[in-house]
């Protein structure tokens, strides 16, 4: 196995890089002498007392895919919103095609040729693909009536330019996220956008869809557009981008050609500290099986899944998006039903389809979607923490406010949650702190089995590390942990045993020692690798 750096990414080789310089060191202008499509110089933006962007400069050239990296709170989101015309700069300047520009609205951004593809595409499900692309700008025939045939033909042409096929007459309801993104990209093309910003586009995509997206990015580059690619996944960044800009604390700290930097250097720039070698994970010997799943099947979703999780061990479920891992977890916890098979907790069969039964058996579930499933955004931090434990805080049938407050304060302290007041709405917290609230909610029940689905998705690196430490600590204390994760480094770091799912089946099991990114990926895709 090739030598990996501390994060599990392969080192790319030597390269010069300025870790905190404002301007790129060398060779960073693709096509030197040409005017960048878009340029930001010393951009700054504050919201009240918070300086979201302090000093950021970036150049986007035609035909390049440019990666934007940074932790949460580094200012990426604000930068994107500035480019989208949602916010205006406090100071600094923006140049589009060499001309100084101020974008006062999203419409102005569109007019300037900038399009943003967000993580969750916003389409009109009841309308057709073609209408979604052209809404508000439908081609007209006589008497200002919509020319449906033209609209569909133009849509088909756009998809052809992107190298994909999608039926323009089809209703958008039921489209996969990957297809929805394609519609958004087609929309951007139809607006003749030259600068296309993609915000975490691969977060919910399967490997085949990611590959298709990369082809689309290549097509966009060939059409001389500039793509700004924001992602947490360094392997993707290395694959499709040419240059990278790293932001930290609202400043641009690094801009370089990707050929000249290593993953470790990028992470260091993002985090500002050297990541040492990760300590080996020792949970000691695992105890009795807490969860036993036998031949669990849900028609069309997953088949014949059997595994167990023992006290004190972390079983990590790896696999591609769509392989059925979340569905298995939901079936175990009772959110969904299953058709055949059995689930046993501590030897006692668990009733299917009933989250309360699972909770009574000592199972906790930290779901994938924090904002929709993990938290009630309108409620306070305190109320969210108590939501799964309401029965326990009863006195004479009524909720004891003191117990509620104590539970919340206790866990907020233990998990080091940063908050203003416990009665603040949980929507005011950052992603990482919100995740901690969800964890606190379940840990407050002292579960014997904790299921976590994508525990660190969308949270910053520092909180990520805290969550990893917490999971390891839980295992050390005897909790059985079932962790679903699409981040292989996380799987390898925390998993005592790694189960791999592919297309609804459990296809491989690895112990810590025989697992590696390659072996897992081979099992997850069932195909040979292509070395790059």
């Amino acid at each position: 196995m090739p030598e990996s750096s501390a994060d599990g990414y392969r080192d790319r080789g030597p390269g010069e890089v300025s870790a905190s310089g404002q301007q790129p060191a060398r060779g960073a202008t693709a096509g030197s002498g040409t005017v960048p499509l878009l340029s930001l110089r010393h951009a700054a933006k504050a919201f009240g007392a918070v300086q979201a962007v302090a000093d950021a400069s970036i150049d986007l050239y035609a035909g390049e895919a440019h990666a934007l990296l940074g932790e949460n709170g580094a200012g990426k989101s604000t930068l994107v919103k500035i480019l989208a015309g949602v916010h205006q700069l406090d100071s600094g300047s923006m140049f589009v095609g060499g001309a100084a520009t101020v974008l006062h609205s999203p419409a102005a951004a569109h007019a300037a040729g900038i399009a943003v593809i967000y993580q969750e595409p916003t389409l009109f499900p009841d309308l057709s693909v073609a209408e979604n692309i052209f809404m508000g700008r439908q081609p007209l025939r006589s008497a200002r009536r919509i020319d449906v045939r033209q609209m569909r033909a133009q849509s088909a042409a756009l998809f052809a330019r992107l190298g994909v096929r999608l039926d323009p007459a089809r209703m958008c309801r039921g489209l996969s996220i990957a297809d929805q993104q394609l519609v958004e990209i087609a929309k951007a093309l139809s607006l003749e956008a030259r600068i296309i910003v993609m915000d975490e586009p691969t977060a919910a995509l399967s490997a085949a869809e990611v590959a298709r997206l990369f082809d689309v990015v290549a097509a966009l580059r060939a059409a001389d557009a500039a793509v700004l690619f924001i992602s947490h996944r360094l392997e993707e960044v290395f694959e499709i981008c040419q240059r990278v800009t790293v932001m930290r604390d609202g400043r641009q700290v690094l801009t370089a050609e990707l050929a000249d930097v290593t993953a470790n250097e990028l992470v260091r720039a993002m985090v500002g500290r050297q990541l040492g070698q990760r300590p080996p994970n020792d949970h000691g010997t695992a105890g009795e099986p807490v969860l036993r799943v036998e031949r669990l099947t849900r028609e069309g979703v997953f088949t014949d899944v059997s595994f167990d999780v023992r006290a004190g061990e972390v079983v990590a479920f790896a696999g591609l998006v769509g392989s059925g891992r979340t569905e298995v977890a939901r079936a175990i916890f009772g959110i969904d039903r299953y058709d055949y098979g059995s689930v046993t907790v501590r030897g006692r069969p668990l009733r299917k389809g009933s989250p309360p039964a699972a909770m009574a058996a000592g199972v906790g579930f930290v779901p994938e979607d924090r904002r929709q499933q993990g938290l009630v955004m309108d409620m306070s931090i305190q109320q969210n923490m108590a939501l799964a434990s309401l029965r326990r805080m009863r006195r004479h049938g009524l909720i004891s406010a003191a117990s509620e407050r104590m539970l919340a304060t206790d866990w907020a302290t233990r998990l080091r949650i940063k908050y203003g007041r416990l009665t603040d709405p949980v929507s005011q917290l950052s992603g990482g702190n919100q995740q901690k609230v969800v964890l606190g909610k379940w840990l407050g029940r002292q579960p014997g089995l904790l299921i976590v689905d994508e525990p660190t998705r969308g949270i910053d690196i520092a909180t990520k590390a805290e969550v990893h430490r917490l999971i390891a600590e839980l295992a050390r204390q005897g909790v059985a942990v079932l962790m679903i994760s699409s981040e292989l480094p996380e799987v390898l770091y925390l998993g005592d045993r790694i189960e791999v799912m592919r297309e609804g089946r459990l296809v491989a099991e690895f112990s810590r020692s025989d697992a590696s990114e390659e072996t897992i990926m081979v099992a997850a895709t069932g195909q040979l690798q292509e070395a790059r």
Binding site: K81, V345, L387, R394
Partner: protein, 370 residues
């Protein structure tokens, strides 16, 4: 407190290594704070209280009869049934649904009462049948909404027709008025030893019950949760479908009770009893500051809403002004109930913009990362 079956451990996970706080540094129990703190929570309700007091003052100044015991009795008589039905409606709206069939369940109950009484059934048996019918009506609503996943607005417009239709079919064109005096006396005299009408008394009792359940019990908290975020509520082990169905059943029972009371009060069972009242019930709940989107509201507010609604009608009645014109101030108050909170939000935002040269904090709601 029941111990869990299954897996528990003696102590919880301690802080991960590197954490600052130790497990023993628990915060001392702070002094008792009231469960409903002052602040923005009560803003609409306090305004409404002022309005109610103002109506009272207005009423007294225009007619010396306003605060007499006789008038209090009449006030309760007139609005008692609407007030009763507003209570389960409050819980239903907070849970994120709506029930427009309430008046039709009333009518159905009235029709059943007349029909069975005319056939000589004993009163007790009739009551049982009526309450069961109301529960069944609510159960149908609940099942259609929770099991079939249909939107409650559309469903209850349908059952509005269906249950009114049942009333039509059962009673037809007939009118039954020969109910025994000891029942119809509720339309003439107040509850013994007090000034309040029977329906008002029922309302007060129910208000206390519903208030305690909504604001202080786990079920009540779960109602707020499912109204604010149905998915998160399910993931927290809340039995959303079961609770919602239960709420509809309770509504059906209370509405059929209201139908019985109305029939006795009017001393008449006819298929059109209660026709058109459903919007009044919704209006009273919304007047009380309950959000139509679910997840927010208080019973105190609804009680005040009832008082405002009834007070306006009553004041107009006493001044011999056209009583039906009461709907104008009611409509005006309804508008205020939605504009004032959003006005407060707007003012708050403007204030922040002035004092801190921009929004108070970076928008926390974005794509999930900072």
């Amino acid at each position: 407190m029941k111990a869990d079956r299954g897996v528990t451990r003696a102590d919880g996970p301690s802080v991960p290594p590197g954490g600052a706080a130790s497990r023993d540094a628990r915060p001392a129990l702070t002094r008792w704070r009231p469960p409903i703190t002052a602040g923005h929570l009560l803003r609409w309700e306090t305004g409404l209280l002022i309005v109610v007091i103002a109506i009272g003052i207005l009423g007294v100044s225009t007619s010396s009869l306003f605060l007499t015991s006789n008038n209090m009795f009449n006030l309760g008589l007139q609005s008692g049934e609407i007030a009763m039905m507003a209570l389960p409606m409050t819980l239903i709206i907070i849970s994120g649904e709506i029930d427009l069939s309430v008046a039709s369940v009333m009518g159905m109950a009235s029709a059943l009462l007349g029909y069975l009484f005319a056939r000589g059934w004993p009163m007790l048996a009739i009551f049982v049948v009526i309450l069961l019918a109301g529960a069944a009506a609510g159960a149908i609503n609940g099942l259609l909404v929770t099991r079939l996943g249909l939107p409650s607005l559309a469903v209850t417009i349908g059952t509005l027709g269906l249950y009114r239709g049942v009333a039509d079919i059962v009673l037809g064109p007939n009118t039954i008025s020969n109910f025994p005096a000891n029942y119809t006396s509720i339309g003439i005299s107040p509850v013994a030893g007090t000034d309040i009408s029977f329906s008002a008394a029922v309302f007060i009792v129910l208000a206390v019950m519903f208030g305690v359940v909504l604001h202080f019990t786990p079920v009540g908290r779960s109602i707020f949760a499912m109204g604010a975020s149905p998915e998160a509520a399910t993931f927290a082990g809340i039995r959303v479908k079961r609770v919602k169905t239960l709420l509809f059943i309770v509504s059906g029972v209370v509405c059929s009770l209201a139908g019985v009371l109305m029939t006795f009060r009017l001393s008449t069972a006819v298929n059109t009893n209660g026709l058109g009242l459903e919007l009044d019930v919704v209006a009273v709940v919304l007047l009380g500051g309950v959000s139509i989107f679910g997840g927010k509201g208080t019973i105190v507010g609804v009680v005040l809403g009832v008082l405002a609604f009834a007070g306006i009608q009553n004041a107009l009645l006493l001044t011999n002004f056209n009583q039906e014109a009461a709907s104008i101030p009611v409509g005006g108050l309804l508008l205020l109930s939605v504009f004032v909170p959003s006005m407060a939000l707007l003012i708050g935002r403007v204030r922040d913009r002035i004092t801190t040269r921009g929004r108070a904090g970076p928008p926390a709601i974005g794509t999930g990362h900072g």
